[in-house]
Amino acid sequence: MRLLRIQRLTKRFGGLLALDRVSFDVERGKIVSLIGPNGAGKTTLFNCVTGVVRPETGSIRFGPESGETLEGCAPHQIAQFGIARTFQNIRLFSNLSVLENVLVGTYVRTKSGLLEALLPWGSGAHQEERWALDRCSRLLEQLDLISFANRLASALSYGQQRRLELARALASAPELVLLDEPAAGLTFQERQELMEFLQELKKQGLTILLIEHDMKVVMPISDWVVVLDYGAKIAEGPPKAVREDPRVIEAYLGSRSNG
């Protein structure tokens, strides 16, 4: 079943064509990887899907059947539909604690407002708070961060920060999560753990769209791979097929670089 459908998505920055009529689908419950050389438009595509930038033309549909129209929606609305993301250059709330960072993630799944903040008695705000804390500590435990819960986010190591950003995205209980180079800068050991964790998430029914450079990460876990080059989609298919696609080898693996 299709969860995300991107059709003829185009985005221009001044004279630069960042995305050129890109179309592909993401099936529910799958891990889809988006690969391509630097500057191919991968992050721009993420930004379009999460409402950070507005595409010029094209459509983004989310959900079964025709689904919700995402283009033109504000980032917070898109988050409410059930899409969460991480960033290439980790964007944590560095002066908040680790736990608080994850708690922010539960914002879309909770609803107590001004009144409940001041008069929590009997409003269900307490249960909500307990639910959120529960959920967050479970996530922190799964990602091996629970012992740092009260530290400042900025005090974590790089690998821990990556995991924290993932935990924060997952705290919103999304249907689709967009991960922008989650393995960048991780040690070999950390990469292995990440791959296991992503597969665990997939088992739980989560759909993952992933930007990744490291083929050793992409190939084993992806169900589907989409290749971008100069803003245009040049290939898509199962990992094996893509790896053997001559255009991909030419554009990406072959002539320019190996990374």
């Binding site: 999460t50 409402g51 950070v52 504000a74 980032p75 917070h76 898109i78 988050a79 409410q80 969460a84 993301r85 960033f87 964007r91 944590l92 709330f93 560095s94 002066n95 908040l96 604690s97 608080e100 708690l103 922010v104 993630g105 914002y107 879309v108 909770t110 107590s112 407002g113 001004l114 409940e116 903040a117 001041l118 909500e128 708070e129 009260n150 530290r151 400042l152 005090a155 924060r168 995205a169 919103s172």
Partner: protein
């Protein structure tokens, strides 16, 4: 409860020290504390650098003054109305302002602050212009008229400061408070997590504006006379200084900041013409000693951190 004890002690001060000047200073400090608490919601919680906060103070003061002089509205009704009108003002002026960011927001709010003051000055038929409004009624509670005695105002303001401080502390720990903190730290990341930045910023501006309006109504009732020069840019800057000196985001901190910066010039009265020179040196000195503010949040956090590790 330590807080209750401190509150009671503060409440009893007028009985222990009947000197009306001292009480006046305390009442003024409490008024500033109220303003600092309100601005802290905007600057400390939501991270919006606001340089026109005195405008909401003015709106609250003029709202009560006009309602009282034109319609005979009693203080206890004018107080919430002043708060409401200033709160709405905060939201309305915020609508365009939240579209710009960072230091640009600072100048837009500065502009609004000046516009409000000049408009108040120039709308002579309504506001009395530079002449201001005279003969605003003092509050009456159960037949007792507050008059010009500082004590009842001090008590009233103490209750308001206590109440608003409680509200602020609750807000900071609430879901909304966390969302503000997230917006302050990284707006884009916060928005992709489902936080409606515009709405939350407007909420902060509305609440902050409302608290300033509350303070304004009390100020108008206490002074009995208001003129536009009570609400100038310097006041906005001084309140901001109180918030930053006390410690951005810290409820106890900004109260302390307000007390220090409102009492210090009074302590320096003995130096007459050297007063403000020393005040300037004092501000530089205090800030150098405590760059995070007297009770800065990050200061506290860093200490927690050290204790934890």
């Amino acid at each position: 409860m330590k807080k209750t004890a401190i509150f009671l002690l503060l409440f009893l001060i007028p009985f222990l020290d009947p000197n009306s000047y001292h009480i006046e200073i305390l009442a003024t400090a409490a008024l500033y504390a109220l303003l600092a608490l309100g601005l802290n919601i905007i600057v400390g919680f939501a991270g919006l650098l606001h340089l026109g906060y005195a405008a909401f103070f003015a709106i609250g003061a003029y709202t009560y003054a006009l309602l009282n002089l034109r319609l005979g509205c009693p203080f206890w009704l004018g107080l919430p109305l002043g708060m409401g009108v200033a709160g709405v003002g905060g939201v309305l002026l915020g609508l365009p302002a939240v579209r710009v960011r960072g230091d640009y927001l600072a100048i837009v709010t500065l502009g609004f602050g000046e516009i409000v003051r000049i408009v108040v000055t120039n709308l002579e038929p309504w506001t009395g212009g530079p002449n201001g409004l005279l003969g605003i009624a003092h509050p009456v509670l159960g037949g007792f008229n507050f008059g010009v005695d500082s004590r009842p105002y001090y008590w009233l303001l103490l209750v308001l400061v206590g109440g608003i401080a409680w509200v602020c502390a609750r807000l900071r720990r609430s879901r909304i408070g966390l969302a503000w903190a997230a917006l302050r730290e990284d707006e884009l990341a916060a928005r992709t997590l489902g936080i409606n930045g515009t709405r939350l910023k407007l909420l902060a501006l509305g609440l902050g504006g409302g608290i300033a309006g509350l303070a304004g109504a009390v100020f108008a009732a206490k002074q009995g006379t208001i003129t536009p020069d009570s609400f100038d840019f310097i006041l906005s800057v001084m309140i901001l200084a109180m918030v930053i000196l006390g410690g951005l985001g810290s409820v106890r901190g900004v109260i302390l900041g307000a007390v220090v910066l409102s009492v210090l010039p009074e302590l320096l009265q003995g130096f007459s013409t050297y007063r403000m020179l020393l005040f300037g040196i004092g501000m530089i000195g205090l800030m150098r000693l405590r760059p995070q503010g007297l009770l800065g949040i990050s200061q506290i956090r860093r200490e927690l951190q050290r204790a934890a590790s």
